[in-house]
């Protein structure tokens, strides 16, 4: 199986100010199947965000390649959407125009893109907020809009860089449930970066565990607990425990 996203021998080396070479990522190999939900879990500074940015085409790798549908890819493309941790909405555009932004770049007429944006606004349950501006929304609502904006572009793959990392614990749990619902509805492949074990166990089909300095893949764990997962399920607790121990030694 080729997979939706394939990463081969990826390596990223940063040059610091005094010409020191820092290896951020080394020998990353990964295959993500179509409609799979993969969480990349790792301690802060393990290079997981850098990895996601390379997959998005926002940064270049030093060596190694990223394939999308079997084709090598280096530049951002509409088929691969991305959701950032926060403050990614254009503050001067209202919610509808933000959701329609990708369609605007694609040259779709105003009437058509607004109609489509309204559909996605509905999907995230924010129909009454189309004319609101981002600074009038709560953090959770802003992230909903960011997800709707990415999906309005009809991507195959959704890259998510700690999208709920800045939210409070309660909103975070609501958003996770919401994301699963959207994922099942839209059938996209999701590559989700997080440092929360609980979040990864709740969401993922597969968890890719990374260790730091240099960042590399340590374990690849398939989760077979059926959805919707209950946090009270003993299997949930056992897996979380196991991952925490692995993470500690990462």
């Amino acid at each position: 199986m080729e997979g939706k996203i394939r990463v081969e021998h990826l390596e990223k080396i940063f040059c610091s100010q005094n010409d020191m070479k820092i290896t951020a990522l080394t020998d990353i190999n990964l295959r993500v199947q179509e409609n799979e939900f993969v969480c990349i879990l790792g301690p802060s500074g393990c290079g997981k965000s850098t990895f996601l940015r390379i997959v998005a085409g926002l940064e270049e790798s030093s060596t190694g390649k990223v394939f999308y549908d079997g084709q090598e890819h280096v530049k951002p493309r509409r088929e691969i959407g991305m959701v950032f941790q926060n403050y990614s909405l254009m503050p001067w555009l209202n919610v509808l125009d933000n959701i329609a932004l990708g369609l605007n770049f694609a040259g779709i007429s105003r009437a058509k893109r607004t109609a489509k944006a309204e559909k996605y606004l509905d999907m995230i349950g924010m129909s009454d907020f189309g004319k609101a501006f981002p600074n009038e929304l709560s953090g959770g609502m802003q992230q909903r809009v960011a997800i709707a904006r990415a999906l309005a572009n009809n991507p195959d793959v959704l890259l998510m860089d700690e999208p709920f990392g800045a939210l409070d614990a309660y909103t975070r749990i609501i958003m996770q449930r919401e994301l699963l619902r959207i994922w099942e509805q839209h059938k996209v492949t999701i590559l989700f970066v997080t440092h929360s074990v609980d979040e990864a166990v709740y969401l993922a089909d597969r968890i890719v565990l990374m260790s730091s300095s240099p960042g590399k893949i340590k374990r690849d764990i398939t989760i077979s607990i059926p959805r919707i997962r209950e946090r009270s399920n003993p299997l949930f607790g056992e897996l979380t425990e196991e991952l925490l121990i692995l993470l500690e030694n990462a």
């Binding site: 940015r53 998005a56 085409g57 926002l58 951002p76 493309r77 509409r78 691969i80 959407g81 991305m82 950032f84 403050y87 990614s88 909405l89 254009m90 503050p91 001067w92 932004l101 990708g102 605007n104 770049f105 694609a106 501006f133 981002p134 600074n135 960011a146 904006r149 990415a150 572009n153 890259l159």
Partner: protein, 275 residues
């Protein structure tokens, strides 16, 4: 009640105090050359359309000054805004221009007076556009190239500094978000960078106009000036007409506030997302 006091009364306490102190001092000094009374100044404003010391009415002088400042400002802005955007967008453009600009920035516009006079002499809008002699020529002859140059220099630096800062400080996340949504370089420039930097650009325009306006008296001290509030002040000083000096100062202050309020209104109307 308390809120009413804070919004309606508080802002006017100090100006009122100033008027009282002024009036008390004026009575005690009893010398119109040192400090005329408020009554004397308000008489000037009540007869604003009179011809003062051969320089015409107050509205006419304000009008002449406004045209001078706005033309100098326009020239300054037309150069500063595109260059500032370019320097904020392109690091090499910044490297190329930055030192030059930083060297000239601290020089007060007034220091340019002798050079401006040397470069531009008595040329004016009338001579630049080769206007035929007559009333038109006399009117546009009021707008000397050297004055426009001085005011333009005054406006240029705050505008370019703010524009460059604004473009440079557009959040990286916004640009990345646009890229992953399929934005072209052109989209990034026109649909992200410019609107994101717009509040800073507007702020630059605002400060630039204020500085340009405050260069007025210096610019109108140049020879060949026959009207304008700045010239009115200089000329009134020579005639020991302190009341007219103060009248001119008030005109500059009030007009400056009115110009600034235009920007305030635009900011509130279009850039509320930022504040």
């Amino acid at each position: 009640m308390r809120k009413k006091f804070n919004t309606l009364i508080l802002p006017f306490i100090l100006p009122a105090l100033l008027l009282i102190v002024w009036q008390v001092f004026a009575w005690r000094v009893q010398n119109v050359t040192i400090l005329p009374t408020i009554g004397r100044i308000s008489k000037n404003f009540m007869h604003a359309t009179d011809n003062f010391i051969g320089l015409g009415s107050i509205p006419r002088n304000i009008g002449v000054s406004l045209i001078r400042v706005l033309s100098g400002y326009t020239v300054g802005v037309l150069i500063a805004v595109p260059l500032g955007i370019f320097m904020g967008y392109n690091i090499n453009a910044q490297r190329l221009f930055e030192n030059l600009i930083n060297i000239f920035r601290p020089i007060p516009p007034l220091a340019w007076q002798p050079l401006a006079l040397g470069f531009f002499g008595m040329s004016s809008v009338a001579t630049l556009f080769n206007m035929p002699f007559g009333q038109q020529h006399v009117f546009w002859g009021n707008f000397k190239t050297a004055m426009i140059f001085l005011i333009g220099i005054g406006s240029f630096f705050p505008v370019i500094a703010n524009v460059m800062f604004g473009v440079q400080n557009v959040s990286k996340t916004l640009i990345d978000s646009a890229r992953v949504l399929g934005a072209s370089e052109r989209d990034i420039f026109f649909k992200i960078l410019i609107p994101a930097a717009a509040p800073s650009i507007l702020n630059g325009l605002r400060v630039g106009l204020a500085i340009g306006w405050s260069c007025l008296v210096g610019a109108e001290m140049l020879p060949g000036s026959m009207a304008g509030v700045g010239y009115l002040i200089t000329h009134a000083y020579e005639l020991a007409r302190t009341d007219l000096v103060i009248t001119g100062m008030i005109c500059i202050g009030v007009t400056g506030v009115l110009l600034d309020s235009i920007f305030k209104i635009i900011t509130i109307k279009y850039f509320s997302w930022k504040y």
